[in-house]
Subunit: 381 residues, 2 copies
């Protein structure tokens, strides 16, 4: 897999936030670049998001990420710390501070260890042609696997990196995901294409219904490979981001099974998404998948929760798992055994047809296990 | 605790749904009675709810409950089975079928074992003065404790019973809860008072965000004790239902801690409820409480999820646990230790003031533990 992109350099290292492991990364364009970015809608978003949102989102040149501390709910001091980080990155990248996107994830409500952070940043080597695989490792928090994906579009390369395994139900943006390309794309086109892809990928994944305070997704294009066909770019970007989203769901905290919920036959795509989210977020559906329990009735329950959707009639609904129908034709004992066996796969597809019209949406999530509880019952202490 | 109410008789027993344990109960008034009832808004509600909702809700005379099988998503056959149960109860109670409320909870998508159920019902003894404590036991499914509460209002008694520990986030109604009183109350007054109490109690509890297909709450008044003061009745009813709701949250599947979230300073009560639900439903808040992890930042995250509420400003918010402030004044190391100790209690109170106006609401929930996963990963098999 290609994990370098012409026109971008970077550096990763430890700057005293985590014990020894990489906890800071800087990637920047060597010349002018175009960009697009979206952010969490959380009311408790941190200063990294505040600063970044106010920046030059069409002309971002650099992305600096701290992992292990979200710098959220830390007041005025936290904002000053974020500004200092942004200025450091701007100096290194040779650009204006507003051209630096700052992102930070980890524990909330604890100030950065600024003395250690300053020393660590000062000691980082100069940026060099960057392997984005190293970047995908440096932005990890409780992730167990790094997340990177790549596609070619004509002469151009698209590489995306992402992190995030808990506090994952992005709302108009994502955990952290950064896509780099050497395609030459006007910022307005990049923005339109990126938002269309975000809607079908990052905004379609949920690990635990908890929207992060730090969600950020951005794409930077260096232009080094020249212009590309925009439809091809969108297709490649959709593949890269879908691959990252599936990695996020598979690596969901404690998860053992990727759950994909395909809703069809809805009034419109928005209704399909609403129903899909109700299913993929139901703790009872998630635990049934975890236990390979053929308790398909919980999917019916989850559909039933969408009580605003009065055009959904239970008589018109069809529910299946990987092609095995469970409703309205109730499963025979043999079919239940087949379903039980199917639920032992690493990936489970739940198919719901609402029988209304042509709206469709696919969402991604994961099972709920003892591992999620263990990880999250003892995170800061 | 008084668990008998003048004017009501009943019977409980096993009718072949569960192995040996009580799985059916019938309570009925010996004469005319007034009543009020509310039901789930689930789109996948079962025939019990469909039949009951179409009944004489102001003049209910009897309540029949089957536990262990929800009779939901069972098609036309399921509806016929529910009608048969309703007719049986009407015969026993000496009233019309539409005066019988039918309720059923348990596994979804599996037909009743009708042969066994018919034999079991036929073999039940005649109704007699009923100890509602026995009824509270006969309606249990995965409950580990029966749930009953009682208050006096003048010469009248109010006794409530409830069940439910999972698939609990009632929407305009509740799991199953039945309240019996010998007060004499016109049906219209009973309805108004009951709905006001339901809004502050059953609609304020969530175990796992999953709204049941079978939620039903009803009150029946025999009138045997004569008229009472309506305000006093409402106060008593609020106490009875709050006590039941706290029992439900405490007995949440796998739960070890009752979580009470008190939101104040909101624009209005509805906003306070929205924020309270976001907190009490956050799996990350629930697991932090379970682990006695002083990770209060997750409460900030959960408030941040309410992104429609643009008048909430993080600078104006105050977060505390049992009186210990954690935001905006960040906890000292000593305060973190105090908080960690506080979180080891059986009941944890999270206090949030939004600093906007006078809106307030209190919601109830529980922690999320390995026990919830174990119970729900292996429920039907």
């Amino acid at each position: 897999m290609t994990t370098t992109v012409a026109g971008f350099v970077g550096v990763t290292g430890n700057a005293g936030v985590k014990d020894g492991r990489p906890d800071v990364s800087l990637v920047h364009a060597t010349g002018a670049s175009t960009s697009a970015a979206v952010f969490t809608r959380s009311l408790f978003s941190g200063p990294s998001v505040t600063l970044s949102r106010a920046g030059d989102l069409a002309g971002l040149r650099a992305v600096v990420v701290v992992s292990g501390n979200a710098n959220v709910a830390t007041g005025d001091a936290g904002l000053a710390d974020a500004r200092e980080l942004q200025s450091w990155a701007a100096d290194r990248a040779g650009c204006a501070p507003e051209q630096v996107l700052v992102a930070s994830t980890g524990v909330i409500g604890v100030p950065y260890p600024m003395d250690a952070l300053r020393d660590g940043l000062a000691a980082l080597p100069a940026a060099a042609p960057v392997d984005l695989d190293a970047v995908s490792r440096a932005i990890m928090t409780t992730d167990t696997h790094p997340k990177a994906a790549s596609r070619q579009v004509g002469a151009a390369t698209v590489v995306g990196v992402a992190k995030g395994v808990g506090m994952i139900e992005p709302d108009m943006a994502t955990m952290l995901s950064f896509v780099y390309t050497d395609a030459q794309v006007p910022a307005a086109d990049l923005d339109r294409v990126f938002r269309a892809v975000v809607a079908r990928t990052y905004n379609a994944v949920s690990v635990d219904t908890d929207t992060s305070t730090s969600d950020t997704a951005a794409i930077l294009a260096s232009g080094a490979a020249g212009p590309v066909d925009l439809d091809e770019l969108e297709a490649a970007l959709l593949e890269v981001c879908t691959e990252l989203v599936r990695m996020i769901a598979s690596d969901g905290e404690g998860a053992s099974t990727l759950i994909e919920v395909r809703v069809t036959g809805a009034r419109d795509d928005a209704q399909a998404k609403l129903v899909g989210k109700a299913i993929v977020n139901s703790p009872l559906v998630k635990t049934a998948v975890h236990g390979a329990d053929p308790n398909w009735g919980r999917v019916a329950m989850a559909i039933g929760k969408c009580s605003t959707e009065e055009d959904i009639r239970q008589e018109a609904v069809r529910i299946a798992f990987g092609g095995l129908e469970t409703y309205p034709r109730l499963p025979t004992p043999e079919a239940r055994s087949q379903l039980e066996a199917y639920l032992r796969n690493d990936e489970v597809v739940i198919e719901v047809d609402l029988g209304i019209a042509e709206g469709a949406f696919t969402v991604y999530g994961c099972d709920l296990t003892e591992g999620y509880i263990r990880i999250n019952a003892d995170y800061t202490t």
